[in-house]
């Protein structure tokens, strides 16, 4: 399975960490960012999320983030998995797994990668509220 994926189904955090760790026995630290579906946004109660992506372009942008992270940080491997489709409150949305010999570079690469994902990847979220489904126009 590829380290960078967009998929509808849920992912296993353990499986993703093991997949990244398999890159090298020299890995000494793994930092994970997990984005989950929370039940509020801007004062509104949210009962569900629905993610849409631009097939092809979104995957390419995630692969580009991985390649740039490997080039710009002293890390050994990084994986990115993002779900699309309907996601229930409490479910997982996105997982970034950065691995390096020492922890500091993995922390930095992980934070950079999720920020870059939000900035450059054509994925859109709609939130289900009491008033119906609302597209989220900007990522905080």
């Amino acid at each position: 399975m590829e380290l960078v994926r967009i998929q509808r189904e849920n992912f296993s955090i353990n499986d993703e960490v093991e997949r990244v760790k398999a890159a090298s026995k020299g890995i000494g630290g793994v930092v994970v960012f997990l984005g989950a579906a929370r039940d509020f946004s801007k004062g509104e109660t949210i009962t569900g999320l629905d993610f849409e992506h631009y097939p092809g372009m979104a995957e390419a942008k995630l692969k580009d983030i991985r390649e740039r992270a490997l080039k710009n940080f002293d890390i050994i491997e990084i994986g990115i998995v993002h779900r699309v489709g309907k996601i229930a409150i409490g479910e997982d949305i996105v997982l970034i797994t950065a691995a390096s010999a020492h922890r500091n570079e993995a922390f930095m690469a992980c934070e950079w990668a999720i920020t870059e994902l939000k900035r450059t990847t054509p994925i859109w979220k709609s939130e289900t509220t009491k008033g119906g489904e609302v597209w989220v126009s900007e990522t905080p």
Binding site: E52, Y54, G56, I114, I123, W135, S137, T139
Partner: protein
């Protein structure tokens, strides 16, 4: 023929997922925007603003990017992944 694809809230405003246009010669993104503003009045103010990004063949484009026959154009509202 070129294909223009609408995403997220733009699909609702355009009441379409995509629209095909026959072009006789290459056009720029700016020229395509003018056509879209006429055909989709609901998108007009958004297309004038800075929040929408445009892609051509799945690469980010600017107003001067040339669109040729067979190209795919994406109208991308602000991203909200993650």
């Amino acid at each position: 023929m070129i294909t223009v694809r609408f995403f997220a809230m733009l699909k609702g405003l355009a009441k379409a997922e995509s629209r095909e246009y026959k072009i006789d010669a290459p056009i720029t993104v700016a020229e395509l925007k003018s056509i879209l503003k006429k055909d989709f009045p609901a998108l007009s103010s958004i297309l004038d603003g800075r929040s929408i990004l445009i892609s051509v063949n799945q690469e980010f484009a600017d107003k001067n990017t040339v669109i040729r026959d067979g190209d795919e154009v994406g109208l991308l509202p602000p991203f909200s992944g993650g």
